[in-house]
Symmetry: C2
Subunit: 113 residues, 2 copies
């Protein structure tokens, strides 16, 4: 019965269901690359994402502590290698992020379309 | 001519073109809502995004300092109101984010599709 215009019901915006552990752009990059590949090499991730080794390590630690990736060390020939594999929990978390982004993009077509 | 498997050329991943000012989930929420509406009320944004007033204020300051939104204060009747309007630069930045997310989602359909 208010005389002021009603802006309509407020419902949860798609961004409220984004998880910052997954949404942070570099971690989103790590998860999408490892979801595509069987497992990804540390150096490959570093170059593809344009990160310093220290920065990549920090993001991997966040993801590993959240149970979203597994990091293992080994050798290829004599060269030490670090491999990153997405976990089942990581795939589930990435799927949730992608669903939320898809909902967000619905109705927000890129300019020119 | 190397005997080790070549992981293929490393090209820039879509997440490398995401701008953290825009990509942060609450700021992405503010920009998408204000891009849809002519302008959005502070209280509406707070409720739609599930933010505390202090948290919303901090994100608005980041966006305003980057020139992506304009915040103005006024009255509706006797009640003080704060309105948020996206700028032209904000629309351009949001379009760039949406293009990068669209590129990222291409080939990452939600599970079940």
């Amino acid at each position: 019965m208010s005389a002021t215009p009603d802006p309509g019901p407020v419902s949860a915006h798609p961004t409220t269901s984004l998880d910052e552990t997954v949404h942070q752009r570099h971690r989103l990059g790590i998860l999408t690359i490892t979801a595509e590949a069987e497992s990804a090499d540390f150096g490959y991730l570093r170059d593809a994402l344009g990160l310093t080794p220290g920065n990549l390590s920090r993001h991997l630690t966040v993801l590993e502590e959240a149970g979203l990736v597994q990091v293992s060390k080994g050798f290829r020939g004599r060269r030490p290698r670090t491999w990153v594999r997405i976990t089942r929990k990581g795939r589930t978390a990435l799927a949730a992020e992608i669903s939320a982004l898809t909902a967000l993009l619905r109705g927000h077509e890129p300019a020119g379309h």
